[in-house]
């Protein structure tokens, strides 16, 4: 019997299987066996990936975004931290929260946007102020915890651009670093926050319209029917993916 991943409030049932497509243009796929999310100005449609695929595995294996790391696979070390975005009430901006991608299941991303460490560098090579400050302040040694730390800090500065040292330590309470002792990381954060607040915001103008696009309509159903528009497919078929080595970037670079 097939299993479902019910993405509440709507009648979307994400059944297992399919192929993954990365699209520039909004694909108006009405098929309900997909997970759709926005990644750096593009819609990602994951169809029929194993229900229990973690976001971390999907990023690393299927999207070749190897910047996000696995340190423990239990949500305790922070090497896997990414930002997940949702459209705000007004529908004109994205609100972010930090998330351990190693324990998030892919279908829960449906309708949301994602920022990974690869999302931060601009196409002209300029680093986000948090990244630049981490470099200048010698905030990394082996570097394995660094992407997760950069993401936790970048998330923090979306809403707090004047943190105290304690605020920074709080923001990093889920990020383990074994090499630095954290001191230069806190210094780097305060240095980054000396930049204009606008520079600290992640670039998500392109994501907003796409988030509206992939938003599934809320449907009130009578209690007697259960919608189930899933295809009768096997639960373990592995997806055939469009293979790309590097995170998707527009070509030619502007």
């Amino acid at each position: 019997m097939i299993g479902h991943f019910y993405v509440g409030a709507t009648d979307v049932v994400v059944a297992p299987r399919a192929s993954i497509t990365l699209s520039r243009k909004p694909l108006m796929t009405q098929v309900t066996n997909t997970v759709r999310f926005v990644l750096d100005g593009e819609i990602v449609e994951a169809q029929g990936v194993r229900r229990t695929t973690t976001v971390l595995d999907y990023l690393r294996e299927d999207l070749q975004r190897t910047g996000t790391k696995e340190g423990c696979a239990e949500g305790d070390c922070g090497a896997c931290v990414i930002m997940i975005g949702e459209l705000n009430e007004a529908g004109d901006a994205v609100e972010y929260k930090p998330v351990n991608s190693c324990i998030q299941l892919l279908p829960a991303l449906d309708g949301k946007s994602v920022k990974t460490v690869e999302s931060l560098k601009k196409s002209d090579g300029r680093l986000h102020p948090v990244q630049a400050a981490m470099v200048e302040c010698h905030g990394s040694q082996c570097g394995f915890c660094t992407p997760g730390i950069v993401m936790s800090l970048t998330n923090m500065v979306q809403t707090n651009t004047t943190p105290t040292r304690k605020d920074v330590a709080d923001a990093l309470s889920g990020n383990l670093c074994r090499c630095t002792g954290y001191i230069p990381i806190i210094d780097a954060t305060l240095k980054a926050c000396s930049q204009p607040a606008a520079d600290l915001k992640v670039d998500d103008k392109a994501d907003v319209p796409l988030l509206k696009e992939i938003r599934r309509p809320s449907i009130q159903r009578s209690a007697s029917t259960v919608t189930s528009s899933c295809n009768p497919l096997c639960g373990h078929a592995r997806a055939v993916s469009l293979f790309r080595l590097q995170p998707l970037k527009k070509w030619p670079p502007t």
Binding site: R60, Q64, R65, T66, G67, T68, K69, E70, G71, C72, A73, E74, D76, C77, A79, T116, V117, E118, L120, K121, L127, V130, Q131, A132, M134, V135, E136, H138, G139, S140, Q141, C142, G143, F144, C145, T146, P147, V150, R165, K166, V168, A169, D170, L172, S173, N175, L176, C177, R178, C179, T180, G181, Y182, I183, P184, I185, I186, H236, R238, L245
Partner: protein
């Protein structure tokens, strides 16, 4: 040639001594730095997982597994056991007593019994998880006590006797005795163990391993598969941390990956998850230290008797040199004129304890510092006073010919602990702080503060003399770009950055044209592990020795280009000039390189270095063991809550000797990181086992390492102005391990705070000083 290039030339150039950013920093922050799991996988890659022993000690029934049952599991392609190993079944780095796949018996819970290979990582791990291991359980010895009772050891005991300890102890005016323990520690590198084995044509094999010792992995794989060592290539660009945990332990996994890849002729990736990593690999040795000390009313230690016993696990691994180093550091900075010390190496049915930053040194120092504290409490003096009284002293001042000679017969030539302590006392305002802490304790009912200043002296060299060697390969290309390759590995300590600085100065090039490439056994052969804090010393010297001939050749070419005498040629920072005024022509480095090629002058050179002077017999623990010493000291202030045992660091002040620093920013990072790691070992990191020998703390939810919130805002580090008395690169000193022992002051500060609950009474508190431990010590001292 042993001596590195003349220091004067190096000082002129100036990359060394600068706070150059880590060569990978811009890659770290963007996620573009590739670790072994990020290397794009070849098509057809298979995935392996380890089937582990469920018992601490037992006899395998047959192979231990049911091959058919495992092969029938979803996605499984193959399963291998010891039977499938064509050559030597070993992953032990020194003594070959360590099978990488159990044969006949299992000796710890978690030991690899088989390796299963599947077409997906998930299936491999699931199959390993579900596989049944058929084993007849035997009684297990799990603790130091049990091993001592059973007289079960991985190797015979060793010791040192100096002077007349028994006689002097018996007649000493004052005497104390007791026992203390310091715990195990998990390295907790953020990047876990991983090996990616790729078969090549004609029986060759390439292993991408997260490892401190590519050459060791190479030799072992060749030996296991009956291949020529030259046909096995091991490459490591960087590790996401290691701390000693990948000095020998990488072989536990690289051997199985190599075996599977070789047998199946397919690339095989073996990446253990955190739980398996912690269950299978070795930890820092925990020690039980018994002491019997004779001293006088001033606090001078007259005689000391120590019995050390460490939990070594089921095999030797590095237990020999670790325990030796504990014995060699039982003195720390202090002259112990009469000493008897014996070191027992307990064999237990637990993982084989392995290398971890400090390598026995911290544990030995923990012992003597505990003694110092107890003497201080007994005499009602500040422990710092006792420390100062017992420091090694110049024989001309002390009148005792042996007062600058260690218990292993080495004369210390560079002792600066006394001056360093003075500097720290001043910078940290120790006396004022001591008064403030006392005042606080007098007026505070539930919260108590502690303050402690602890110095360190740490010997630099591998105690196995033959490991103190290294090589380098330097290629200059026609466009002036330079590739430097050396036998050391980058694990975050900034070794490659320092090597780029050394090479740039040695050649006279700009550091930005220097690329240090991935450690590769095909480029530099027979390299020792990057360990013993010696990476920069040994490889830097080798890099210098490779650059020397290149510089000579280029100088000749430059002399021709400039039309001046070779003596007057100055190559520095990417520019070539003449210093005798005969011409003001300037030649660019890249043009010099091009001309050299046109002149058919070799632009490639290998370099080699072996540490001179050391002559040490590790069987008797006598001789000149170390090339030189590193020194440091820290003052830590802590506060405890005597109702709950909770504690907080209030402030840390450090003065540390790195000699003349090649890169002060990197060295400062090492000092800060090592302190925090040492603080974790002594306070919150606790390895817990159940009664059957199963590791219960196998992930970050149960095993807690320090986080940002544990670090106080007051954290000052300054360097002790010094140059190495030995001609190391730039007269710098090793910095990897020594600063870890600065954290002893954190533990003793907590001890001091507990002591404030009942002044004058001796504190009994082992490490790690968890809140439970602190509270129980408070309760005990109230009752004493």
């Amino acid at each position: 040639m042993n001596a590195p290039t003349d220091i004067k030339n190096l000082l002129k150039a100036g990359h060394q001594g600068q706070e150059i950013i880590h060569e990978s920093a811009h890659l770290h922050v963007t996620g573009e730095a590739d670790y072994t799991d990020d290397i794009p996988e070849q098509r057809g890659t298979l995935y392996a997982a380890i089937i582990k022993s469920p018992v601490a000690h037992g006899e395998l029934i047959g192979e231990g597994i049911d091959r058919d049952a495992i092969l029938a599991m979803h996605g499984v392609i193959a399963v291998f056991t010891a039977k499938d190993i064509p050559g030597e079944n070993n992953c032990g780095p020194i003594i070959h007593d360590d099978p990488f796949l159990a044969e006949g018996k299992v000796e710890f819970l978690g030991q690899a019994v088989a390796v299963v290979v599947a077409r997906d990582m998930l299936y491999a791990r699931e199959a390993a998880h579900k596989a049944v291991v058929n084993v007849k359980e035997l009684p297990a010895i799990l603790t130091i006590e049990q091993a001592m009772q059973a007289q079960q050891f991985v190797m015979p005991a060793k010791g040192i006797t100096r002077g007349n300890p028994a006689g002097v102890l018996a007649s000493a005016p004052r005497r104390i005795s007791g026992v203390t323990e310091c715990g195990q520690q998990e390295q907790f590198y953020l990047e876990g163990h991983i090996s990616y084995a790729v078969p090549r044509e004609d029986g060759q094999l390439t292993l991408y391993v997260s490892t401190q010792h590519p050459d060791g992995n190479r030799r072992e794989a060749a030996s296991a598969l009956n291949l020529n060592t030259a046909d096995v290539e091991v490459i490591c660009r960087r590790m996401g941390g290691a701390f000693g945990g990948k000095e020998g332990n990488a072989s536990i996994f690289s051997q199985s990956a190599a075996l599977a890849a070789h047998k199946l002729n397919r690339p095989v990736k073996l990446r253990v998850n955190r739980d398996d990593d912690m269950m299978i690999t070795g930890k820092r040795h925990d020690f039980r230290i018994k002491y019997d000390i004779g001293f006088d009313e001033e606090g001078h230690i007259l005689a000391a008797d120590f019995e050390l016993a460490s939990r070594c696990g089921y095999s030797c691994d590095f237990s020999g040199p670790v325990n030796d180093r504990a014995v060699l550091h039982i003195d720390n900075c202090y002259y112990l004129p009469n000493l008897h010390i014996i070191s027992h190496r307990c064999k237990t049915n637990t993982q084989s304890a392995t290398a971890f930053r400090g390598f026995g040194g911290p544990q030995g120092m923990f012992g003597i510092e505990t003694v110092i504290e107890e003497i201080a409490t007994t005499l009602g003096k500040d422990p710092l006073e006792i420390r100062l009284k017992n420091l090694y002293r110049d024989p001309a001042v002390s009148g005792d010919a042996a007062s600058m000679t260690t218990q292993y017969g080495q004369q210390i030539e560079d002792f600066v602990a006394d001056k360093l302590i003075d500097q720290l006392k001043a910078e940290s305002q120790y006396s004022k702080r001591r008064e403030a802490v006392a005042a606080f304790n007098a007026s505070s009912r539930y919260r108590k503060r502690g303050l402690s200043l602890v110095p360190l002296k740490f010997g630099i060299s591998f105690t196995a003399t033959m490991l103190n060697q290294g090589g380098a390969l330097v290629n200059i290309y026609m466009d002036g770009s330079v590739v430097v390759n050396h036998g050391g590995t980058e694990m975050g300590q900034g070794l490659n950055t320092k090597m780029a600085q050394v090479a740039a100065d040695a050649l006279g090039a700009a550091v930005k044209v220097v690329r240090v490439t991935a450690t590769d056994t095909q480029k530099v052969p027979n390299a020792s592990a990057t360990a013993a804090s010696s990476g920069a010393d040994i490889n830097g010297a080798a890099v210098n020795n490779a650059c020397g001939p290149l510089r000579e050749r280029l100088t000749q070419v430059a002399a021709n280009m400039l039309g001046c005498a070779p003596d007057a040629v100055l190559i520095a920072n990417g520019e070539v000039k003449c210093t005798d005024g005969s011409t003001d022509k300037v030649v660019a480095w890249k043009d010099l390189a091009k001309q050299a090629w046109l002149d058919r002058v070799s632009l490639s050179s290998s370099g080699f270095y072996m540490t001179p002077d050391i002559a040490y017999d590790f069987t008797t623990l006598q001789g000149k063991a170390f090339y030189y010493y590193c020194y440091g000291a820290a003052v830590t202030e802590t506060e405890i809550d005597t109702r709950t045992g909770e504690w907080w660091l209030k402030g840390v002040d450090i003065v540390h000797d790195v000699g003349q620093s090649i890169n002060p920013a990197i060295d400062k990072g090492q000092i800060e990181g090592a302190y925090v790691q040492g603080m974790g070992w002594l306070t919150m990191e606790q390895i817990i086992w159940d009664k059957k020998g199963k590791l219960l703390t196998h992930g970050p939810s149960t095993y807690k390492i320090p986080v940002a919130g544990d670090i106080p805002a007051h954290f000052n580090v300054s360097f002790f102005e010094n140059q190495n008395v030995k001609p190391t690169p730039f007269r710098s000193k090793a910095v990897g391990e020594p600063p870890l022992m600065l954290a002893l002051s954190a533990y003793f500060s907590l001890r001091d705070a507990v002591g404030a609950v009942a002044p004058g009474k001796v504190v009994r508190m082992d490490a790690p000083a968890t809140p439970e431990c602190v509270l129980m010590a408070c309760e005990a001292i109230k009752r004493a």
